[in-house]
């Protein structure tokens, strides 16, 4: 039998960076969807009045709330960067192995840069 490549077995196969980025894209997508529920709850609370707003706002000001907010914002920016990558792929370009790996690094760097920029903008 000819030497043929084995299909990757998740438990023994060290995932390449591109695979991690792809999985994270999906995971952040699901997380962002769940966070949308909270965003809508927030809008409902604002419409309801200052008391309901104070209730959800105090959660947002707590440590857990802030962590959640920043996790959501980072997820949005990561999903944004890899989503942009998908739009480039849709044009039929950038499928060479070397380009794939290089862009995976770019995406991670760009998402971190963007979240730092947003953080700086708020802190000013």
């Amino acid at each position: 039998m000819k030497e043929r490549p084995l299909s990757p077995h998740l438990q023994v196969y060290r995932l390449p960076l591109t695979a991690w980025v792809s999985i994270t894209h999906r995971a952040t997508g699901v997380f962002l969807s769940l966070g949308m529920i909270l965003l809508v709850v927030f809008l409902l609370a604002i419409a309801q009045g200052s008391e309901s707003f104070a209730c959800v706002h105090s959660f947002l000001q707590s440590l857990a709330g802030r962590l959640f907010l920043w996790a959501w914002i980072y997820s949005l920016l990561f999903h944004f960067c890899h989503g942009f990558r998908h739009l480039i792929w849709d044009t039929g370009h950038g499928f060479e192995r070397e380009t794939l790996n290089r862009f995976a690094v770019y995406e991670i760097a760009a998402s971190l840069l963007l979240v730092c920029l947003v953080f700086l903008l708020v802190s000013l």
């Binding site: 809508v40 809008l43 409902l44 104070a54 947002l60 944004f80 739009l87 849709d90 963007l114």
Partner: protein, 129 residues
Amino acid sequence: MNYQTPLARVRGLGSARQGSHDWWQQRVSAVALVPLSLWLAVHLSMLPNVAYAEVVRWVSLPWNTVLLLSFILFSLYHAMLGLQVVIEDYVHNDWMKLLGMLGVRLVTAFLALSTAFSVLHIVFVGGHG
């Protein structure tokens, strides 16, 4: 001899039986979300530091109202299509798949209605106390 065009052959195919329509809609909403996401990320990060009256005033500015509604409605549509793909990939039981799809569609529709109502309420009625 096959007289079907390539387009006619792919219509009705795919795991959702809707051919490439969902795929294309996902891209259209993604393009819309490119500027909207950056705009929202900046404003959302400020939310812990602002008071009620300020938030109400911010939402009521026409520009913000339209962008906020656009972001949430496009996101919900994008999320609906994305979650549908996730369910198609991981849920193999037909009944569970059907329930999952129904759930995703109904919940996103409900969230979209709640968003539209809340934002318009804030704009036209204003905040309470």
